[in-house]
Assembly symmetry: D2
């Protein structure tokens, strides 16, 4: 299929490469020329704008950093809607607020283009390995249409409901993840401070009612698990500042919806505190270092 792919950064680049590998013909655009060249070197055609790229596609996929970028890339003078043919399907894989996602989808529909929001989880590793999870907001028929193409970039393609629900699912899940990680950090630190072996404590939690992904798959306490960021100085993984972005989207959407999210808001402040102390680029599980007790701090924790 002829696919226009717009936004070729850390996530979009490897996603586009996987589509090329799967045999699709890509026309690509990015504001950073080097990112375009990396794809044309692999056989993609380059375009001078989102508009021109979109004009060449039977399907348009975008992967952009934030809501203002999405609005500008879709609705601007040189944007997707200005160039795309009517009837062509649009898929935005950016993580943005559900309200903006629905606004752009409505503009696309008015223009004659069905549009899906399809944010991902799995990080740059998943983007490269083609094992991303896609959370898709689209009507059922549209979902069926795009699922095979998304499957060239991801392993789980989940239908969440109508337009915007892909974004809703992502920010709700990630808000809960951000809360759980702080909860695990507090529980593990408290246990260690009170004299239980952290590995034993994790084992008990993981078979009890405190069990969660942050504890049994991604434990933040050093020495409890292998092959997690805590085992390699909190490098790799999902950065604190990315978690902050998602918590910002969640609390902002909650504000619009007049929905209290007390722990979500407090988790956001704690990650902000940690980021302001220099932890923004580390994996978000490093929040455990913000919450160390005095003795541990004095003993020079990494």
């Amino acid at each position: 299929m002829k696919i226009a792919f717009i936004g070729l950064g850390n996530m979009g680049g490897p996603m586009a490469r996987n589509l090329l590998k799967a045999g699709h013909a890509l026309t690509v655009f990015d504001v950073v020329e080097r990112n375009v060249e990396a794809l044309t070197a692999l056989g993609a055609a380059g375009a001078g704008s989102a508009k021109l790229a979109a004009a060449a596609g039977e399907l348009v996929i975008t992967m952009l950093p934030s809501s203002p970028h999405v609005k500008s890339v879709y609705l601007g003078d040189d944007g997707v809607l200005a160039g795309v043919r009517r009837g062509v399907t649009l898929v935005d894989s950016s993580t943005i607020d559900p309200h903006s996602a629905r606004e752009v989808a409505a503009a696309a529909a008015a223009h004659g283009n069905p549009m899906a929001d399809a944010p991902v989880s799995g990080g740059t590793g998943g983007a490269e390995a083609g094992t991303l999870t896609f959370m898709v907001g689209a009507d059922p028929a549209l979902f069926d249409t795009i699922k095979p193409t998304l499957a060239h970039m991801g392993k789980n393609i989940v239908h969440c409901g109508g337009a915007g629900t892909g974004q809703v699912a992502k920010i709700c899940n990630n808000m809960l993840l951000g809360i759980s990680m702080v909860g695990v950090a507090e529980a593990m630190n408290l246990g260690a401070a009170l004299g239980i072996d952290p590995k034993v404590l994790a084992g008990i939690i993981n078979t009890s009612s405190g069990r969660c992904w942050s504890s049994d798959t991604y434990n933040p306490y050093p020495g409890v698990m292998e092959n997690v960021p805590a085992a390699r100085g909190y490098t790799g993984g999902f950065g604190t500042d990315l978690m902050l972005k998602d918590l910002g989207l969640a609390t902002d959407a909650a504000k619009q919806a007049k929905q209290p999210v007390a722990l979500g808001a407090m988790a956001q402040q704690l990650y902000q505190l940690w980021s302001s102390q220099g932890g923004g680029a580390q994996d978000f599980s490093a929040i455990i270092k913000l919450l160390h007790k005095p003795a541990a701090n004095q003993r020079n924790r990494p």
Copy 2:
């Protein structure tokens, strides 16, 4: 074995019955005479005080409401240590603060009695069915000694480390549980407010990084799961005021240990708020009702 069992309330009563069923000879005591009579009717011997009950046991088990009760039952003039023979093992299954647990264990050791803390999870249902989880703080040899007896009352008998670590494991797990439940409540409510189907959202979370026991086994959103308190008006289960008690133990222990527990403390305040609005006797997952958005409040509130 001749066992002295002290504390025959909602938990201790059925636990003692299971020991009787397993063929043990029990001497029992409780400040509420009716509780004693319920056991003597089943073949236990009654005693007039903790001291007298303890004097008759080759093993002493206690199940009491709080730390002051434990101190008084073990250390008081009519208490266990005043009556028990040297060398007899003591097991306290109350949920209390680790500091008090260690204090009493040290007094017992000085008196020549090895002592284990063995708080349970599983609630009154688990106590009756004999399927409790015991979290045991004891040295390894002592653990091996008492494990077969505890196995008549529970399914999982977990060794947590030395004296006090049973309590540490329990309060750390339950603090995390209390946080996770609020997190799930906020995420589910936010998703519903933003237009995703709650069942779909729960399904996505349960296979993603937000996955936790509060979401996949005990989801608080009505209609998402069957056979959970949310499916029966938040009756049964683990009461809000019991969760409040455990969060109080956790934040208090954290204060002693100079360990920050920001979300633990905030969760405690939210359950307190919910309890103060009349929710104390409902299952703790009813915290989701405190956090409803306006429309839901207007529709569903009494």
Copy 3:
């Protein structure tokens, strides 16, 4: 002076009337026709759009509900900049985020119009009595120019610094106010629950280090002061939902600035909770009712 006044709601209406009383010639616009008629009945000229009103002014003043309104009224096709003559001074008295205020001021400057942000405090009472406080962001010469006109609507005209700093001052003050009020509510409730007479407690706080406006001028505990919302069922005053709006502006600006505001965010969540339980239209000091202890809840809640 010929003044264009745009936005004639609960605040803008009485402000415009005070300018008329002071002898200014007004051309007014509002999207609600009735609001325009109320002013033309008093001698103002009506205009069919912000553009047309602005064209008639030697000074333009706006009073609008939120940032999107301000952007649209200034930058839209029928907006102020499309109609106003170069060199005419613009004053926006809306409460909006500092970032948007600076954006609009920059657009005005590029168009040849000096612009000041001048949000107010004092509520509808102050607007009617002409006793508002204006917090003005403008360069010093511009401040001197507009001060005499603002003085016809307010008592304190405070210079806060360059463009946007009026908004900054307002949201910082109001965030602190929102926090202090919750703090006073918690302290007064706690004291009452522990058996001290609330009036005595307030007297002690008001001469000690806990002293603050929320305690000594606007105490939320019923019976402590006269002539405050707490003395009249929390009617009048500054509504909970208005406090929520300002806390939303503050935490959002903090997010942009990467500045932790832990108590500000938590206060926002508590007012949201209170609003979701039906308290949005009551004075913000009614937050004390959210935080009542159980007995008080049982006795006093409707």
Copy 4:
């Protein structure tokens, strides 16, 4: 008057000296012999125990670090009640939880000794200058009896109500103070991050509804005021760990009273975080350093 003074630390020492200066005859005791010697060098008589000191007094005053000390000094075998004559008045100036204060007062009353709780504010500076504030819980006649003596050590002697209310007043005021200080720190930091001059912002707040002691008398932002801890590197003043102690008393009393104190609990966690990062010995206004935004952190942090 013959006064027994027990507890001669940083606060008790200078308080006892002021009583000596006022012409009272003192018999003193402290577990630290050096503290006793410092007073006997000035003319006090030393005693070998609290019991012996109390036996010599027509009035007993105690100044101790915490509730367990107070219980042991009053109720222990070598304690005040074991030595004091019936009818002698007892005054405890320690800051402890109201529940314990009432417990000890009841024991004293049962023994025939009227007792007042009279915690102070004003710090070591106030203790030395004799300018402390005493918050007194006592019946009115008892208050009148002890007021003249307290006036030799303090400037404001405030009657708060019956037994325990002195403690209640102190912990409620200090909880509010702890909250307000964090609020001011957040508001000042946010303003500075958004580009307003901190001195101008403080001036606006101090004449507006955000006004509070933490802003107008003890501003935490460096450069805003002279003669405050912020002007001298956060030395002197009221230490973070002392604020932590008082917040611990407040949240604990709130737990007993089933009273939500959401911001009080969150402030406690923030001071704990700051203490765990090494700030415990600095003035509590240094909490502003915990909450710095990234740039400020990079520039200013040691």
